[in-house]
Symmetry: C2
Subunit: 316 residues, 2 copies
């Protein structure tokens, strides 16, 4: 099995294995990503975030099916990221259940990713998994995250279009407001729209948008639409696809697509620099020197700020 060539040929087992290698930080993954990189940049990346219970996963499945049913069907990749779970076992089970729902369509690939270590590590592994699906020729890639604050703000940065999913009756507060993810929403969806309170949830989002008017929306020339869906029945999903396509066209025509791509690349590049710079630096400090410094901070002989500055002056 040639991981790189087979991935480019959209071999599902090769893709799955390569993403596992990325998650585990295996050295061949890095090399593969460098070779695959020139083949990326063609996929359209859509972020979907929302609190547990909003029916986000069902919605993403239905969106995938809708893209497959277009006059010109598009291949779809789904990456489901759970920053609150360090367990991958459940994720794998979840993948199987979802795949069954998607009825073995070879044009759809589903993958879950969970935290192993830091959020930064997860965001980066997700970015790399997107590259793999992109290089493999999946045309639309959905990145689905649980709404829990900074994590999806970071992950949403990798998407061109970000959808924030709400549902009526989940609590007295709108999730987007609480998590401060309002600013990242290009499209709002009120799912489970047959439930009581759907209209007032829509109204609350519209009010928020009005309040936020001057700051963000105005400047960019795009007012986030608020769509109602009943994902379990597929209701409203074709209209949502149209909104995604409208936003995509807006980004292309306004030149904002290139800007978002540049921001994404910058964020990723800074992260990589960070990591490699730190590794390089630490390798030049002897373990004895390091321990001695930590001990001095513990004994309050020097404060951590001054110690960091001093070490940097000495070593660079």
């Amino acid at each position: 099995m040639n991981l790189i060539q087979d991935t480019l040929n959209r071999d599902r087992r090769a893709i799955a294995r390569l993403i596992s290698h990325i998650e585990n930080g295996e050295p061949d993954a890095r090399e593969a990503l460098a070779v695959l990189y020139p083949h990326t940049g063609r996929a359209y990346i859509v972020g979907v975030t929302g609190a547990p219970g909003t029916g986000k996963s069902t919605l993403v499945n239905e969106l995938a099916k809708a893209y497959r049913r277009l006059d010109q069907p598009r291949t779809v990749g789904i990456i489901a990221v759970d920053p609150t779970s360090p367990f991958s076992g459940g994720a794998i089970l979840g993948d199987r259940i979802r795949m069954r729902d998607l009825a073995g369509d070879a044009g759809i690939f589903v993958r879950s990713m969970a935290t192993r270590g830091s959020l930064g590590g997860l965001a980066r592994a997700t970015a790399d998994a997107i590259k793999v699906l992109d290089a493999a020729g999946y045309e639309v890639i959905f990145v689905e995250t649980v709404g829990a604050g900074q994590a999806e703000v970071d992950i949403a940065k990798t998407a061109y279009t970000t959808i924030v999913v709400e549902a009526p009756g989940l609590g007295d507060e709108i999730q987007a407001l609480k998590a401060g993810i309002m600013e990242i929403a290009d499209i709002f969806v009120v799912n489970k729209a047959d439930r009581e309170g759907a209209d007032s949830t829509v109204a609350a989002i519209r009010m928020m948008l009005d309040l936020n008017h001057a700051s963000h929306v105005e400047g960019q020339g795009w007012r986030p639409p608020v769509c109602k869906t009943i994902a379990v029945r597929g209701d409203g999903v074709p209209a949502l696809v149209e909104e995604i396509e409208a936003h995509s066209a807006f980004l292309r025509e306004s030149g904002l697509l290139g800007q978002r791509e540049r921001e994404r690349v910058t964020t990723e590049f800074e992260y990589l620099l960070h990591e490699q710079l730190m590794r390089q630096f630490v390798s030049r400090v002897s373990p004895e020197q390091w321990d001695e410094l930590i001990e001095r901070i513990v004994r309050r002989e020097v404060d951590p700020y001054t110690a960091a500055e001093k070490l940097l002056r000495e070593m660079t």
Copy 2:
């Protein structure tokens, strides 16, 4: 007003202002922290984490009161961290409501902190706020976080004793299990213990502890107790204080206290090094060089990994 001297004299306005300066990243905050640092290391830091709805804040308030009522009363600092909220307005209102509950006791100081920017930034601002309260002479410092994954794992690392709060009937899953914060719990609390299902929540936690037996608990010689409380009535709170004190004594006697302190210092020091190293490095790259590199990655002429390595080789 002399921020440093007044903080050491436990002047509440000076403390509040200094923490605001830390949050805003003002330059005098760094200097003040360096001067205050030798005065730190005396406080006992207790982390309290749990999902929304567990009654965590009420529990922390009652713990504070219980510490004030001991035969030898201890002064108490409370830092309430909400990694899911970027808003400080609500936080300040929350502070006022809490302070009223705490009846203006000069021996208790309450402060809320919210995300402004990255989780890393919040964890660091929290660590610095702890130093301020420590230097000001608060003897027990509670750091309260909303249970939402990696964020409180990071913040919990600053505590000597970490309490995980659950409540019956919040959902079919135990929060600690979901968020993977089981490993960080030194004490479990089932709050709202008068509710139906309290005993089965206790049983579920005990079962989890049994399953996890060999891995963590055994090695350290401490089995996390499971306490029942009804915080709104203060029930079970004195017993919880005893457990905190027992864990504190265990850490001291086993030598683990020093180890936790060292780990905490190491984490903080690495973070500071990271930040300063990156700042120093980026200042040596010209804006033109930087833009050119980003453009080349965007055009897929070079992948970000190779670009980062190359830049590091050239610059160091």
